[in-house]
Symmetry: C2
Amino acid sequence: MKPRQYSCGLDAAIDVIGGRWKALILWALHAGPLRTGALRRSVDGISEKMLIQVLREMEADEIVHREVFHEVPPRVEYSLTPLGVRLNEALVPLGDWGEDNMRAIARRRGVEPAPTH
Amino acid sequence: MKPRQYSCGLDAAIDVIGGRWKALILWALHAGPLRTGALRRSVDGISEKMLIQVLREMEADEIVHREVFHEVPPRVEYSLTPLGVRLNEALVPLGDWGEDNMRAIARRRGVEPAPTH
DNA sequence: CTGGATCCTTACCAAAAAGTGGGTACCTGA
DNA sequence: TCAGGTACCCACTTTTTGGTAAGGATCCAG
């Protein structure tokens, strides 16, 4: 549901990373560029369809860069733009908060906590 | 779409603040407790129904505290829990990122940028 | 009685997001 | 030909989130 006007920076940012998969994809790319297949394996539970759909959206938002290599088998590589890198940096405290409170969040929502690493 | 297992802290956090309204409500409460009506006026565009629905979810997630004052007219006050305070702190960098990139985000998504303050 | 204050619930619908299944393209090798 | 590799698209369905409208409760004042 797109607001007609953002009320603040947080409103805009939430719009960019909203949905189930975007933040996870962003994080999967933080260590470096990945091809479609590698990305899919990095993001547990995502379907190829959703992966490609969401990557296209992120590309349109210019937080992700998509590079096509003309070779066979086809090879497409996704990487963070500088904007995406800064977004990922901004997401670190949020990820930490989630980590710190993982067990409680998971319990309240009836979800398994993330494996410890 | 609830994951059966969180993959990391960020996954859990995104689950907690997901949707159009939660982050905005969290932010509205950062300066102090607010009654339902005041909250509704603080969060542009939200309907009473959505406000109450989302507040109930946030209460269940224990990021928001709901206090009923037995008086007339009825008065219910919402405030951040310590967990909610820390979540708000974790959202600051994300809000800053959104502010820094407001015009570009708004343009790409066909939304009006937030008024400058 | 009606109108006002406050807060909340329900029924139903709309819109958006996510998912499933089928298919396509480029090729190579057996 | 079939099987494998890679990446992607489309049609349709399901699920989730958000929205509208109507109703309710507690009271007080005119």
